[in-house]
């Protein structure tokens, strides 16, 4: 199949009607009776002027001229035919997000994309096909495949459960893998924002706009007397629609049904209280085009307290820290086996293997520092700290061990030491007389962060409600090397414990269990909360981009321009012959 290098040149074809019109106009004659043609016939012995129109030749001349014009226009468009070249590799980026599974009565975008990919592979153009799953993160499926049968066997990995598709990162990975002659194809359900890399990527979208309603947010927070539940349902229906919300409070209870009316682009929010002892709430919407966002399960957040102990010579400082700890709501004073020891003693020693230490150091010749403060914002201790305007008293002569977390210029204010067994020592250089830190919100924020950090590292599930795509983390007790995860389908997955934690990335929404030694050690719910994926009304289909950049075009396609020009010249010669030398 020839292609055109400059298809805009075909616009010149619009000249053909003009050309035809000229001929028609030229062949339109005014009738004029004369006494005799005697005098007219004699004048045509001369060549110039008063040309006699030889009508019998007109069709030939017209056809030849038309042919010449078409040949020249096509030559200007520079058509090219593919040259048989060696086979190449295909890298297919597969959108692994949940919207690919939105289906109408027949099939889903994933089904259509699969059929298309199988068709491409069956052509035999590619000697090898690499597949990259574009979920929350790109993932290369290995080994490469070369046939439709192999494609079918690996398609089980293409589950389309991710809350997002990292197509840009996946495409970048594909570009790293591919050579310049290889093809890259993105199979998704929506149009690209921008393709980039002209001539290397073909973007194929198989989406269809479908009505959908689903959960786009959900939370359960602990209150003093009850838990507060928050549900948010969004409509992507194209028109207002009533859907039934089924609410089940724990196992074995009959679901409560509510009719919810959702409008396109609008959300419906439900807020209600629950007793603490309701183990979970299971919300479900009626089935629609996308099933994953129709269910929501919310467990109560684990209530974790941290046993703390204060050992200070500076009583004023101890009092200030004690107030901050009480304000966190996580504090449980325990002098004998604290999980978190706050001290200003120069001799720092752990009481137990699970005791973390916060060592407050007050040096001599302190100075007040107003910045610039350098903060490791990725550290859990620094979350929410705003030190601008804060005066922090510290001594430039003090050297803190460990990794800096907060510095004032080159003066370390907070550092962290980490033991191989998982315990941490946080060194904080702080001179209260030279500081305003205690008088700012940063003081309780700092200690809340420390307490929460420690609480999150307690044994058990770190979060009982997570969004799909986020990891479920289980902090194991010392000595535990492996935990078992049971998914909603009752399938058990063994997970190793590394550095005291087991990390599991759930692929499906629903209820999961962590268990150790056959005993349930924690339970958590996974919810599909991804409004962008739930928005099936924005899906589209089409093809963007091609594999033909200028270099590829010249390398793999032969120009037919010279053939067309030769044909035009031949026709021109014939024209001269037919017209008797008059052009």
């Amino acid at each position: 199949m020839p292609l055109l290098t400059y298809p805009l040149a075909l616009l010149a074809l619009t000249a053909i009607p003009v050309f035809v019109a000229i001929y028609l106009f030229r062949n339109k004659f005014r009738h004029y009776p004369v006494s005799s043609l005697l005098l007219w016939k004699s004048m045509f012995r001369a060549k110039e002027g008063g040309s006699r129109i030889k009508r019998l030749q007109l069709p030939w001349l017209f056809l030849l001229e038309l042919f010449i014009i078409i040949m020249l226009i096509l030559a200007a468009a520079d058509p090219r035919m593919p040259i048989p070249t060696r086979r190449r590799m295909l890298i297919a980026v597969l959108d692994n997000s949940a919207s690919m599974k939105a289906r109408d009565t027949t099939d889903s975008a994933r089904d259509r994309a699969f059929r298309f990919l199988a068709q491409e592979i069956s052509k035999g153009t590619y000697y090898s096909v690499y597949l990259i799953l574009a979920g929350s993160h790109p993932r290369l499926l290995e080994p490469a495949i070369a046939s439709v049968r192999e494609l079918t066997s690996v398609m089980a990995h293409w589950k389309c459960t991710a809350p997002a598709a990292a197509l840009q990162e996946s495409t970048a990975m594909a570009l790293e893998l591919a050579e310049t002659t290889d093809h890259i194809m993105v199979l998704t359900d929506h149009a690209p924002d921008s393709l980039g890399e002209e001539g290397r990527i073909v973007w194929k979208a198989f989406g269809r706009q479908l009505p959908n309603a689903g959960f786009v947010n959900g939370a359960r927070t602990r209150g003093d007397e009850n838990d507060r539940c928050f549900l948010e349902i969004a409509g992507f229906t194209g028109k207002p629609v009533d859907t039934i919300l089924h609410l089940a409070y724990g196992p074995g209870t009959p679901p409560e049904e509510r009719v919810v009316t959702v409008n396109t682009g609008k959300t419906v929010r439900l807020v209600f209280d629950l007793p603490h002892d309701i183990p979970y709430i299971h919300a479900r919407l009626d089935p629609d085009s996308l099933a994953m966002d129709n269910e929501l399960i919310l467990f109560p957040e684990p209530r974790k307290s941290v046993k703390t102990s204060l050992a200070f010579k500076n009583e004023q400082l101890a009092d200030s820290i004690g107030k901050a700890l009480e304000a966190s709501g996580l504090n449980q004073s325990n002098l004998r086996s604290p999980r978190l020891l706050f001290t200003d003693s120069n001799t720092v020693s752990r009481l137990t293997d699970t005791t973390w230490v916060v060592h407050i150091v007050t040096g001599k010749k302190n100075q007040s520092y107003i910045g610039p403060f350098v903060i490791n914002s990725a550290h859990p201790v620094c979350k929410g700290l705003q030190l601008q305007g804060v005066v922090w008293g510290a001594s430039p002569n003090v050297t803190l061990p460990g990794t800096p977390v907060i510095l004032a210029g080159n003066i370390p204010l907070v550092t962290e030491e980490k033991y191989i067994t998982g315990e941490h020592i946080l060194h904080v250089q702080y001179a209260p007389e030279y500081s305003t830190l205690e008088a700012t919100p940063n003081w309780p924020v700092l200690f809340w962060n420390i307490m929460n950090w420690r609480a999150s590292m307690s044994h058990g599930v770190r979060a009982s409600n997570i969004r799909i795509g986020m990891p479920a983390i289980y902090s194991a007790e010392p000595g535990i090397q492996q935990v078992t995860v049971t998914d909603p389908t009752k399938r058990s997955i063994e997970m190793p414990v590394v550095n005291g934690t087991a990390v599991f990335e759930p692929e499906y929404p629903g209820m999961y269990h962590f268990s150790t030694d056959g005993r349930t050690a924690g339970v958590f719910g996974v919810n599909f909360i991804a409004p962008e994926e739930s928005d099936t009304g924005s899906l589209s289909s089409g093809t963007w981009g091609d594999w033909l950049d200028t270099e590829t075009l010249q390398r793999e396609y032969a120009s037919l321009m010279w053939l067309l020009i030769a044909a035009a010249l031949a026709a021109l010669t014939a024209h001269v012959y037919v017209s008797g030398g008059r052009i």
Binding site: R26, N27, K28, F29, R30, H31, Y32, P33, V34, S35, S36, L37, L38, L39, W40, K41, S42, M43, A46, E48, G49, G50, S51, R52, I53, R55
Partner: protein
Amino acid sequence: MRYCLEIPRDAMRGETGIQLGNMTGTSLDFKDYREYQPGDDLRRIDWSVYGRSDKLIVKLFREEVSPHLDVIIDCSRSMALPGSAKLQGLLGVSGLLTAAAGNAHCSHAAWKMADGIHPVVNGTDSPSLWEDFSFTTSTSFEQAWHTMPARWRRNGMRIVLSDLLWEGDPLQTLRLVADGAAAVTVVQLLAESDIHPPRRGNTRLQDIETDGQLEVFIDAVAEKRYQDALQRHQQHWYQACRQVGAVMVTLVAEELVTGWQLDELEKHHILGVA
């Protein structure tokens, strides 16, 4: 104002003619002597001169002119060219000439040149009584002559009314017309459209006589070439007329019928005021 036909010579002699022509002929009016040439009528030899000088001298007598006019009317289709005044002009001039002949005490006969040269029914009478005129043929004079030659009166005057737009040697045609005639006049009657080609542009010309068609693009050059061709064609006829001693006049039908100004005919001494 009454017009009468101007006779070539104003004298009227002999038995057969009432007026004399300029050509030598068979009248009793002596004109000149010349030496005998083979073929000359032996009866014209002046034997008395031979007796005196031993030379064979023949007597030349002035030709007798019969007071008769034959009007030969071209009845081809082109003389009734649609959109022109040729037919009106043709009938008007032929009638006018025969009326002028009557004013000059000449008899007249009208002939139509069609598929042969036939006398017009009632052609010797007043033009208003002429019958059987139809302009449907497309033959030239020579073709018509060969089909049906005319029996014109000898020593009479002959006037040809035609547009002369046919192929052929004008001299041959005129020799046929002039044979036995005392005087020959050719009146070329053209339409405006015969003189001036149609306006510029693509034109499909249709020959009114043959229905032949010709598609031309008319521009300034074409106009000039057409007019040159017409002028050349007329020159051929003028030269042929000079050779046979005929007079040729060109009239434009549209101009003629506008006011019936006959200056050209007067100027060439074809008509005179009585």
